[in-house]
Symmetry: C2
Subunit: 405 residues, 2 copies
């Protein structure tokens, strides 16, 4: 194809695009298709755990029983059957609500995008954890916000509008908020007139023990009902059923859901009709048993990773001990840079992870990295952590080694 002239498109783009950048690590992570690399990079569910038989049956049934409707346009809010199931589940989790409190989105990623679109004007401040979910920053950035570190011990800065948090088995830190921090955030939000965006992507993947109440449940209890709450709960089927269906949801007051429905309509009309039918069918039977399978499988992988870290990491390296979810956060000795370490690990050790810096909206701690244990086998977890430990040890300076030894 002959190219006579390439338009300078940059000049035509909206100023918002200064905030929307390709991830620096995206190119590096494209290498992950190479089969000899052990990857702890993506937060990717283990496909062996997909309920494949039941999804197959549900597609066949939806198309056989109701094929024309399954392939037709449907309402922007989402299918009543699926919204009803979600509303019942949110109610059971302590946030009594109805179908009109639920919008079906294209994964929780779209929930974050629509929430950013609804609330953020350029220069508004979003309060985030350090570290926070990189994909949330990717969603919000297009609306040109500032970011500040969420500080439960201080009043929210002026101009703060949203507080985005992952309180359960967080991506990337693996951390779960204790009850008192949840209560403190609700108080801060009320004082600062903040909207709380609760990302519950991993909430269903707890390894056992008493779960803390969701922020939205505590909010409803304080405020007297979902319509008076200021928390928007973002849920997803990506980690529990299948990410390929692209189905998530927002639960919140109708006054917010109604506006998000308008933005959903302008954005992509509605979520896939047939995929919603399939999800509604699959969650209608045996879903608890399926979740128990997932929890047990990821617990085993998490334990394998904890054991491998204890076995192979040099002294001076520390890591989180998640009670659910898919992630371990690793703190490296001072002076390390996760991105440089990744480059070396890919070249020398054929092991991958995500460096920590991109998970910080403010004041990045480069001496950190995120490991996901959801996809690799227990054997690969041990071997991959062995390689990572060796790469770290090889780079430890004399001072650190002395301290460690």
């Amino acid at each position: 194809m002959e190219t006579l002239f390439v338009t300078d498109w940059t000049r035509l783009f909206s100023p918002r695009m200064a905030h929307v950048r390709a991830s620096e690590i995206r190119e590096l992570l494209k290498l992950l298709d190479q089969p000899d690399i052990i990857s702890f990079a993506g937060g990717i569910p283990d496909p062996a755990l997909f309920p494949l038989d039941r999804v197959q049956a549900a597609y066949a049934q939806a198309l056989a029983d109701n094929g024309q409707a399954a392939l037709q346009y449907s309402v922007s809010e989402g299918l009543p059957a699926l919204r009803g199931w979600i509303a019942a589940r949110m109610t059971a989790a302590g946030a009594p609500c109805g179908i009109d409190n639920i919008l079906i989105t294209a994964g929780s990623q779209q929930a974050l995008d629509l929430i950013g679109k609804l609330f953020l004007a350029p220069g508004d401040t979003v309060l985030v954890e350090r570290p926070t979910y990189m994909g949330a920053l990717g969603a919000f950035n297009a609306y040109e916000p500032r970011y500040a570190a969420l500080d439960l011990g201080a009043a929210a800065p002026s101009g703060a509008r949203l507080a985005y948090v992952v309180p359960d088995f967080a991506n990337p830190s693996g951390r779960t908020w204790p009850r008192r921090e949840r209560e403190a955030l609700l108080e801060r939000a009320e004082d600062g007139d903040l909207v709380i965006v609760e990302d519950g992507a991993y909430r269903e993947l707890g390894f056992g023990g008493a779960a803390e109440p969701a922020l939205i449940a505590l909010d409803v209890a304080r405020s007297g009902g979902i319509e008076a709450a200021r928390t928007l709960y973002c849920g997803t089927f990506s980690k529990t059923l299948s990410p390929a269906l692209r189905l998530g949801w927002v639960c919140g007051p109708r006054a917010v859901i109604d506006r998000l429905v308008l933005l959903k309509q302008g954005g992509d009309l509605h979520a896939s009709t047939i995929n919603q039918m399939v999800a509604a069918q699959v969650v209608s039977e045996g879903y608890e048993a399926h979740l128990e399978q997932l929890r047990s499988a990821y617990r085993a992988k998490s334990e394998a990773m904890q054991a491998a870290l204890a076995r192979h990491m040099p002294l001076g390296v520390s890591w989180s001990r998640p009670q659910g979810g898919m992630f371990v956060w690793v703190s490296l000795p001072e002076g390390f840079d996760g991105a440089q370490l990744l480059e070396a690990c890919l070249a020398e050790e054929r092991v991958a992870f995500v460096p920590g810096a991109p998970f910080y909206a403010v004041e990045p701690d480069r001496a950190s990295l995120r490991l996901s244990y959801s996809l690799p086998s227990a054997e690969d977890i041990d071997e991959g952590i062995r390689r990572l430990g060796r790469a770290i040890a090889a780079r430890m300076g004399g001072a650190v080694m002395a301290k460690a030894g």
Copy 2:
């Protein structure tokens, strides 16, 4: 559920929400579920024309052969198999391009949203036809543009950034642009440094005869290649396969597609993996024969509607004669208001359509309405148009009747 206090959310919304409004007619059109209403309202494909058997087979095959990948995350750009097919089709249509010139979107609605997000800052001007596709306004409005009428006889106003057009069998007008207008738009765009957004949603649904070249094909011919073109072509499988899959695409220069991919990633990560596999499979065999079936069925319905209009409309009413697509545009006698007529028609005649005014971004012509013939049967088309004609005739003033008689 007890509501103690309802937060005043409006105060927390972004200023953009002043531009995002619920459609005035949405409430009225919710009545369409009532079975005794004959509806010409939605631009909804006839579900009897969905390739249901082949879609069933494709879901079964994707899940049987490749189930884990079908249910897993996939790349933001879209699956190479589907993008490759689209690139080949765009190439065959006169716009030689490769896979990197294609982004898969959630229907063409999302293509419009992402394009608005990429190019529009508040106050930028979008040039549109009068009337234009209401859903495009719904997508762009969130980016707070102004609108101006596209005038091929004058220079583009300053601040104009996009020209949005539906050059083939347009929604809502049914109109097809002649070649010389297409060439004139390309010249205007070059002079005014405009990006052309070509909505090709109905392009595959021509009833026969020579099709005009797509704008992107003319642009590529003028500029020397896709990388030098300033036209972004938005296509969709919603009208040809199934809207429920939520699959469309943008074809354009890589410099634009690359940025749209970033916005897609931040917006909802990617289109449904399994739905993309299914679409790629279904279009791979017998697609031309399927399209011929669609064209023939919609041509028959279009003819039924033209015949019914000729039979039942009072003098003083005129309408378009589309050569493809799903829509007829009706001009009512002066003084009529399509919205008032709809209200009366729903109450008295049990027939529905969309009033014309919402299709105008500037200077609405209220004495107009849009009819879609894609969904109702030929019998219902005749009966519905008879009712509509009766309602119009009953409301015609003496002056109009005199002129008509």
